[in-house]
């Protein structure tokens, strides 16, 4: 494999593009403003799918980490890593767009509501996971430690979520999804957006995974070469040191 594209990625890629275009149309134009929130409900069509893809990504990281610890397969290790990167990417996107959109809509860049706070802590947590994947240690050690973190992170997520929710429960901020009524066309737009973003996420994931796979193969090749060079040292010695 020399390129990370394939027939599958072309199909998914184009489907994603079409779905994204359609959902943009529905979200911004065709769907009506909501009764209580007016036009600001349209942010939901981006925010909810984005964070949904993040969660799917982190879920894949969790599953991949569990399986990797069991059978040491490079596939699941690399999948877990790639999925976490996609998750972090989408989480960053949701936080930034939230801040940018928040200012003109509600007057603030930041709200201490449970969801936003928990999401930010989650973001930093997975940055830590990615930092472990880049540690300067032998590959098996790195992968094993990352797998442990990938598994425990889900428990962390739940704890952070619940504790923050409890904390801010009496100070409910302007959370999306509360006091809103979605029906018919709006629900369909939302559904379409989720599908579109999932396709986008899948497309990115496949490419990122394949890049990681290729990187691992390069490492293996480098190892094979190092091995034969090393043996050359020994061969040189037995030949009476004639070879440098």
């Amino acid at each position: 494999m020399t390129s990370t594209s394939s027939k599958a990625t072309y199909v998914v890629g184009w489907a994603a593009l079409v779905a994204l275009a359609l959902s943009l149309l529905f979200a911004l134009v065709l769907s009506p403003p909501e009764a209580n929130m007016g036009d600001s409900v349209r942010l939901l069509y981006i925010h909810l799918p984005t964070i949904a893809v993040s969660y799917v990504g982190y879920g894949i990281t969790f599953i991949g980490s569990v399986i990797y610890l069991r059978n040491r397969s490079a596939f699941w290790d690399l999948l877990a890593g790639a999925a976490a990167e996609i998750g972090v990417l989408f989480t960053a996107f949701v936080l930034i767009t939230g801040a940018i959109w928040g200012k003109p809509t509600w007057g603030t860049y930041w709200e201490w509501d449970p969801r936003l706070t928990a999401t930010t802590v989650m973001f930093i947590m997975y940055l830590g996971y990615l930092a472990i994947r880049r540690m300067d240690l032998p590959q098996e050690v790195r992968s094993r430690r990352a797998a442990v973190v990938g598994i425990v992170a889900i428990a962390n997520l739940i704890i952070v979520r619940y504790s923050v929710q409890w904390w801010r429960g009496l100070h409910q901020g302007r959370t999306l999804g509360v006091d809103t009524q979605l029906d018919g066309l709006m629900l369909f737009s939302l559904f379409l957006s989720v599908v579109a973003f999932l396709l986008l996420g899948a497309w990115l994931l496949v490419h990122r995974f394949r890049v990681a796979w290729l990187e691992r193969q390069v490492e293996d090749m480098r190892l094979a070469r190092a091995l034969s060079e090393r043996r050359g040292e020994a061969g040189g010695a037995t030949l009476g040191g004639a070879v440098s």
Partner: protein, 230 residues
């Protein structure tokens, strides 16, 4: 396993006693942080509608717990620095000590040091920030449970970063997001213990207990894979 835990804990505490890093360096650091907060938040600012209570006094619980978290990062780093030099981690593996026991022992030693620190830092916080005290029992329970949680979770993540030169910058990044709920719960519970009402406080204390139990379990399970380098 418990025997190994006891062995590790007493060894760690003996090293602490011999070097006095905890008392000599981490404690002053904690005190310094408490004072820095006082410098950053003017003691004259009052909080509206709280009978003239100063902002500093109102924020005292949270500031105290942040100080404890920062001190714990130092203690955790130290706990593993001791094992990284002179090949001691290898020697521990050769000895065949139970990894779960090593985890319990090391986190217990860190917890003991943190508890000692908190008694003194706590007195410092009361003196410097001037909050009242409604319930000492609740406060004691909070301190113990939160410390157990921070030690357990911190030991797991400090182990993950061990053996690296970047350990000192990686450990905070790993540990702090994970113990953020502890900061939250401990602050809320302490506010209740200090200012009342008390019911709230006990609920938050329960959350601390759950967190500590969870991470004790995680540590015992995860330490085997973490220590196995080959």
């Amino acid at each position: 396993m418990l025997r190994d835990a006891w062995l590790m804990a007493s060894k760690d505490l003996r090293i602490e006693w011999a070097t006095r890093v905890g008392m000599g360096q981490i404690l002053p650091f904690g005190g310094l942080v408490l004072i820095l907060f006082g410098l950053a938040i003017s003691p004259d600012l009052a909080v509206a509608g709280s009978d003239g209570r100063s902002l500093l006094a109102q924020a005292a619980p949270g500031l105290f717990w942040i100080t404890v978290l920062l001190a714990s990062l130092l203690a955790l780093g130290r706990s593993f620095a001791v094992e990284s030099t002179d090949g001691n981690l290898d020697a521990l593996k050769m000895a065949g000590l139970d990894p779960a026991g090593i985890f319990l022992g090391k986190s217990a030693a860190v917890a003991a040091q943190l508890l000692a620190l908190q008694v003194i830092l706590g007195i410092g916080a009361f003196v410097l920030y001037g909050p009242p005290l409604a319930d000492l029992v609740l406060l004691s329970v909070i301190v113990i449970l939160a410390t157990l949680g921070i030690s357990a979770a911190g030991t797991v993540y400090a182990a993950l970063a061990s053996g690296l030169t970047v350990r000192d910058t990686l450990v905070p990044l790993l540990v702090l997001p994970v113990v953020a709920p502890v900061l939250l719960a401990a602050t809320k519970a302490t506010e209740a213990a200090v200012y009342g009402p008390l019911d709230n406080g006990w609920s938050w204390a329960m959350l601390l207990g759950v967190f500590a139990l969870l991470y004790a379990g995680v540590g015992m399970l995860a330490f085997g894979p973490i220590m196995e380098e080959s």
